[in-house]
Amino acid sequence: MDRYLLIVSTICFLTAIAHTAIEFRGRIFRPLRFNFLAVVLGFVFQTAFLSIRGRDVGRCPITNLFEVIIFVAWSVALFYILIGPSYRLSLMGAFTAPVVALLQLFALLAPIDKRHTVKVPANSWLEFHASMSLVAYGAFALACIAGVMYLVQERQLKTHELRSIFYHLPPLTDLFAAITRLLWWGFALYTLGLVSGFFVGQPLPWTQIVCASAVWILYGLILQGRYLRWFAPKRVAALCIIGFSAALTLLWGITFTAQTHTP
């Protein structure tokens, strides 16, 4: 039953992608409202899935790689819904939907939904630590999406080759401001998640600690570089993409060790 909810949610995100593609082909571009509604609907089904799964496993549904990926996808959609309209970044929905759809399609198609045979007792600190860290991933993902948008717009301005999308993407300075704010949100939430890890009350695997710290240091350096003017905005945008790719890889490492570590 819960997987059906996830399938419907994925269809919502795929619909947003299809709508964007059709508008692109027709050279008519007004995807903001439609994409926003599609993402909101997808988010509702995601939330329903996570809630059912949570009741099923008796804790926050991040017990295996499948659930972790869905939780990250949910966080991305959550940040888009909370932040997208307030920053008024047109086309952010058009860029967000493919990321969420890809994450969910991978989770649905790959054989990674392996349930634990033994029910793990709930640990509120551990759940807070893990969920807060994954919500931070949502902010990092959205910073990555804004980074892609920045690089697309920057390249067009630099090469003087203005395509249809140029007129619909937000200005460079607005995108950079959004990237900076998202990095701060992500970093603050991740720090909160990391610090709460010290209160879990049980030893965590060292690989998990190293991977989590690496993500924290990576984003800390990007923010430090941005404020100390080590990097130009274009570099910061590129680092957001590299950073999120690295963070996703490390997340896989963290989840894998957590799964093998769980009794």
Binding site: L162, Y167, P170, F231
Partner: protein, 356 residues
Amino acid sequence: MNLFCVGLSHHSADLETRESFAGHAETDRILRSCGCDEALLLSTCNRVEVYAAAENFISTEQIARCLSRAQKVDLDARFNNFYRYEAADCVRHLFRVASGLDSMVVGETEILGQAKKAYEAARVAGAAGRYLHRLFQRAFRVAKHVRTQTEITRGAVSVGSVAVDLAQKIFGDLANCKVLVLGAGETSERTVRALVSRGVTDLRVSNRSPERAEALASAVNGRAVPFEKWRGQCGEIDILIASTSSEVPLLSQEQLAPVLRERIDRPLFIIDIAVPRDVAPDVNALDGVYLYDMDSLQSIAEQSLATRRAQVAAAEEIIASHVSQFIDLIARGLQSPGKNSDCSTVGESSLRASES
């Protein structure tokens, strides 16, 4: 009821001819002199058109005489410049005009505002009745529909407006942008004025002749900067408009690179409209610098115009569907579905072409 349009535009008449008919007639005068039941005058720099509804046939000549009477122009010589559209053709023509399809620059939106003003003037004068009211309200809706459903208004089509559009795509809100104008020529003044119209307030002008710099600075509420000190401004400004008559580039990559290190997080938009160029082309390779010269701005303007022209067919389709809907509405007696208006008598005289 005969619904028709008589007029001349940049398609059919030269400026001199248009001048001799423009602005001499008021809507109520047309109504009185020609016997129209309803009349509306749309007079812009590119067209003089009368939209009218009349029970009896009103000839093109009668309308032309109304428009020209005060001037006593040689009507016979200029009569051929007039066109006339009736019934569905008249509806189609107005929808095309309001949507910017009939404009000199395809897709320009100024005409919609002018049409709204003309309608308002006729309404206030009591010259626009239910036919013209419905016709123009529908025309405004069609224009909006065309604008949102196609890319007919996309992109700027003049060098100045392209520069302003680009500035907005880099900085967003231009109110906090600092602009330095290098060279107080006519083109730079036009570009500066376009930027001012979008909210720029911090303007600095530098020119070899301090008097001209002062003159332009006071004209645009800016301040003059001595020519020998303009490079020092590059660390502060966001937009540089260069248009001097210098034979050699005034700004090279080597000169700009050290300044940029101090402003790494702020983009610099350089509009080089000088020929020969004031800024070395390799400056564009620097991170955060967006250099546009006359050719690149012109090319973007042409690209936008080409895109607009490519959208004409889609716009015509939208207009065609609205024309048939409107004609149906007229045939039903101007009644919206489900509404019983007081127009029952109008149904008897549905739209027809004039019997000349």
